[in-house]
């Protein structure tokens, strides 16, 4: 979709110039996944496959409701099921729709070395422009949510697009359209945040004291948010990070060392150049050759006068 939506970039990977952003008068969008209303029917997974023409190879039953077992280049969203016992010993079946969180500050985009392979539109959607992808896997290292998957066939990275093609023409994402319970909602980020507030109130009134909205500030918020009944411990939902943020290693690698390294290389090269300008080449002088020759002659003479057998046959040495 890069051609249609290439004038509303707010971020563009591996780019040092301001991306084309004239058509940026658009609302930031968000998908709100209300975990408390999800029944685990996987309609969202099916709709995602259907709209995006994705078909994961059929695998094997591994004793889990998760199907398939993980995200892949062909699986962009996945219901993850967790059986969790609360403090009172009550069993809760936690079902979380996993997929790209569309971070406001995307770690994948920060890590990507290929210009324009990852972009963020003014509406907040983070998209992979696969034509530009080089398959290095840096996005995997940048992502705090373990989302991107590299295809072993075409060596491109894939993830949920938030149906940027649908959203671009005023439609809601396919998963939202398919959800039968209204557990997945889509709209402006403000509306979704407000709606989540109502849902959280409702959950609290029903005894979920720690209900809350998952819109992690560590990545400046996300454009996919969760309503969690246990927002105090997100990790019980199949390992949803408690405090996601771009790794400090990635921040260092993609931050200060880039300019410092280039400056260091340039400085070393310049130091060499100016040494040449100031001191000039170190050349062998005629007297070096003369002294060297005297030393060689002396060495030969010593061998002979000492009466030592030369280390080499004489005829070979003269």
């Amino acid at each position: 979709m890069a051609d249609l939506q290439s004038q509303d970039y707010v971020r563009r990977s591996a780019s040092t110039l301001t991306p084309p952003a004239a058509r940026d008068h658009e609302q930031e969008v968000a998908k709100l996944i209300d975990v408390s209303r999800c029944i685990g029917c996987k309609a969202c997974q099916s709709a995602c496959m259907e709209w995006n023409n994705l078909r994961q190879e059929i695998g094997h039953f591994e004793g889990s409701y998760d199907n398939p077992m993980d995200l892949s280049p062909h699986v962009w969203t996945l219901m993850r099921f967790t059986e969790w016992e609360d403090e009172q010993g009550n069993l809760e079946w936690l079902i979380r729709k996993d997929g790209c969180m569309h971070c406001e500050d995307p770690g994948c985009l920060k890590a990507c070395p290929a210009p324009g392979a990852i972009v963020q539109y003014a509406n907040g959607i983070v998209d992979f422009v696969s034509d530009n992808c080089i398959g290095c896997g840096y996005c995997v290292k940048g992502c705090p949510f373990d989302i991107p998957r590299i295809s072993p066939e075409d060596h491109k990275s894939y993830k949920c697009t938030l149906c940027s093609d649908r959203v671009g023409v005023g439609l809601e994402p396919a998963c939202v359209k398919a959800c039968p319970t209204g557990a997945i909602m889509f709209g402006s980020k403000t509306d979704m945040t407000n709606w989540a507030g109502e849902r959280v109130e409702d959950l609290k009134s029903r005894g979920f004291q720690n209900a809350g909205l998952y819109d992690p500030p560590g990545v400046s918020g996300t454009h996919v948010m969760y309503v969690l009944h246990h927002a105090d411990k997100p990790s019980i939902y199949a390992g949803l990070p408690d405090k996601p943020q771009i790794s400090a290693f990635v921040g260092f690698w993609k931050g200060i060392i880039k300019p410092v390294a280039l400056a260091g290389i340039a400085f070393t090269a310049l130091a060499g150049f100016f040494h040449w300008v100031i001191a000039g080449p170190n050349e062998v002088q005629p007297e070096d050759e003369a002294k060297a020759q005297r030393l060689l002659d002396l060495a030969d003479k010593q061998d002979e006068t000492k009466g030592q057998r030369p280390l080499r046959p004489l005829d070979e040495r003269l």
Partner: protein, 226 residues
Amino acid sequence: MTYPRGSLIRNTTATRINHWITGGCFVLLLLSGLSMFHPLLFFLSELFGGGQWTRAVHPWIGIVLLVSYAGLIVQFWRDNLWSWDDIAWMREIQHVLVNEEEGVPEVARFNAGQKFVFWSMALLVPVLFVTGLVIWEVYFSPYTTIEQQRIAVLIHSLAAIAAIIVWIVHVYAAIWVKGSVRAMTQGWVTPGWAYRHHRKWFRRLATTGSRGPVPNNDAVPARKNS
């Protein structure tokens, strides 16, 4: 390979081939690596047929470099062992830098600067290789955690920058000290060159009647002193 009459052999043919395979790999790795390191240098990936090709070919070149550099280590490690003479030489480095080597402690086959380059690369090349394997997505990504890969890619970048800086020092020194490039292309130096820059090495060749590169190396003909 025939060498001019009266010349000394600084590097054997095998050493020179080994060196230039290493050097060629290093330059290719530098260009492809920098293209993936900084956006301003991404255009360098075009030299390799685009980003995908650059990403794919970089690690293979790295393997060739590792093997090749191992060959250099085998050939050079003994003459690069550190000694107290190196400290004395480094104390006089300010004279060396202005091309006044007379009076500076005599140097054997390699001076302290050359040893620094040798051992820096002997450290950095394996570090780059191991961290490179960890981030070689196509074949090795399943064997490490993402956090380990983050650390590996950071170390890989830092080690690469260090190696590039050491490499610039190496290349410049070869240009600066006239006769060094020929010593690695055609393999020979004049006795005066050896006397000026590596007098201790030169004295050993003279007293042992060897033509180099190491005393009594049977692989090369004896010195013709005429």
